[in-house]
Amino acid sequence: MKQTLLSLSNLSKQFGGKTVLDGLDLEIYDGEFITLLGPSGCGKTTLLRLMAGFEHPDEGSITLAGEDLTHTAPENRPLNTVFQHYALFPHMSVFDNVAYGLKMEKRPKDEIRQRVDEALAMVQLQDFARRKPHQLSGGQQQRVAIARAVVKRPRLLLLDEPLSALDYKLRRTMQVELKRLQRELGITFVFVTHDQEEALSMSDRVVVLKDGLVQQLGTPREVYERPANLFTARFVGETNFFPGTVESVHDGSITVDVFGLKRTLRRPDFAVREGQPLNVLLRPEDIRVLDPADEQGVAGKIVERNYKGSTLDSVIHLDDGTEVLASEFFDEDDPAFDYRLGEPVKVSWVDGWEWLLPGETATEEELSADA
């Protein structure tokens, strides 16, 4: 059974009249890796600062394992933070940086030495204890920041976009390393990022935030495959939206008209009636590009193709102007696979791989948040 460690209830926060968090509720389970994902200004960093105690909410409460922390000072909270720019003390050695938190707890010298050595060994920096932060690379500084936070054995570790300053390869390495640390230490990680790929690959659960509200809370798979709304669908991964209309409703299925194509689809969770507009969401990898002679499918032509190594990504303009992204794995046996630019094709998708959302139209705001 999952046990709630940190409970946020009805959190609201305004800055200068601007609402950043709007009555947010969230339960964080003990030992999980949970990611707060959203575009800048969505309130994810504010949420983290409220948990750390750097800000206090206008309304609502924060409870950690039954203890009310809402107005507790940061120094008295049993949780630690890894800062975006590491925030290592520049005048202290690596050892002293990591020892800082234990010195504040007035631990005996021997214990401090032993625990700091352990923490540095854990992040493979035992040989760098005497160095100053400015003598380390970005990745090494990052690891010192992590060691400094976990050496206190917090119940919860808050990570504020900790990998955003690293280059791509190092990010990948650190992602794996962070996952390993989290497994080994059994500490609950609350990870803030605007990088959806990072969120999907690392988390047990993802919280998608926008305008201070939770848009969706679920496993990476749920968030990617069954987005709760258009915002999530657009923000997490690439998505094609096909507008459709419900033709008829059956027991477990509905017939939908998409670009004049009649397809029988699984009946969605929300209520549907005949004539209702729908959005058919298709990830690029759900799309199949077919020969123009094929009976099913919507006609269009290839306007862009991108060789990605394992996949071939194409952009197809349908005849009505809709742009479709398709990402196909190579099929060695299919000689017709490689299309030329401008070549007419038909577009279809694998049955059952679609996801349906009610037919709200995407607003300007959502479109811009996507950019």
Partner: protein, 285 residues
């Protein structure tokens, strides 16, 4: 390699800088060093043979006392400047950008008036029948005017008044550079306000403190006109001694030796400042 002809501007600037340093900095200082090891001569000011008598004279109990008293007043001035300037600079770095500009402007405005004039103004305030005494008497706090002028306190007040901006500006600059994230990190790791102040804020603002001390302590030993106007005959600075040796006593070697002591002290402080900056990694590894 670029030839001189290809970079006439760069060459001209370099010549100007080197010329300036050679003729207006190095040469005068060498002259002072030279003068300090020569013999006093009533007719020609300086004569041979070379000797270290002037430096020996510095340890004469009479002058040693003047030096120590001067050092004491300069140190008090520096301390008062630091005690006022540190919280002031801290607060200055915290207020909004608009107000920051106004406050810095107000800090700099007095420089537009000659410091001699401002010291005379201070004399009017501190005098027996001055503004301060009159104000205190009119609100009934004192019955008799206090002796404020011609005291050690008056000299220190005058020096603080003139030198405070030199303490505040370097401190303001280090507080501006102080990253809030570091203070948050300190709290996050369990340090309260006092611990954070001692372990993070003080060490990180130390270069500013030393820069401020450098800019206040040395001038505070040299601003001879302040004791001339406010201090009376007993509250002399090293600056007064140097001035007197050159203008009144006509003992140039001794005056030169005394000013070299000031220069060496300055060099020592600059060295300490560099070390403190290197400690926090602001200059090369």
């Amino acid at each position: 390699m670029h030839s001189v002809m290809q970079q006439p501007f760069k060459t001209a600037v370099l010549i100007l800088v080197w010329g300036w340093l050679l003729f207006l900095v190095l040469a005068p200082n060498l002259l002072v060093v030279g003068a300090s090891v020569m013999t006093r001569d009533p007719a020609t000011f300086l004569s041979l043979p070379l000797n270290l008598d002037a430096y020996r004279q510095l340890f004469d109990p009479l002058y040693l006392e003047v030096f120590l008293h001067s050092l004491y007043m300069a140190a008090m001035t520096t301390l008062v400047c630091l005690l006022i300037g540190y919280p002031f600079a801290w607060a200055l770095s915290k207020v909004g950008k608009q107000r920051q500009l106004i406050l810095i402007f107000l800090l700099i405005v007095p420089f537009w008036t000659n410091s001699l004039v401002r010291t005379y103004a201070l004399k009017l305030i501190l005098a027996t029948n001055g503004l301060l005494n009159n104000a205190l008497m009119s609100i009934g706090l004192i019955d008799e005017p206090l002796q404020l002028l011609y005291t050690e306190g008056a000299v220190i007040i005058g020096l603080v008044y003139l030198l405070l901006p030199f303490m505040i500006l370097p401190l303001y600059s280090v507080f501006e550079d102080l990253k809030q994230e570091l203070l948050l990190a300190s709290h996050d790791l369990g340090a309260g306000r006092l611990s954070t102040f001692i372990n993070v804020i003080v060490p990180l603002t130390l270069p500013g403190v030393l820069a401020g001390v450098m800019l206040v302590l040395l001038p505070a030993m040299g601003l001879f006109f302040v004791p001339d106007i406010l201090g009376g005959s007993r509250n002399l600075l090293v600056g007064n001694v140097i001035k007197n040796q050159f203008l009144d006593a006509r003992n140039w070697p001794f005056g030169a030796a005394a000013s070299i002591v000031l220069t060496v002290t300055m060099a020592f402080l600059m060295f300490a400042h560099r070390l403190s900056k290197r400690r926090i990694g602001e200059e090369g590894a």
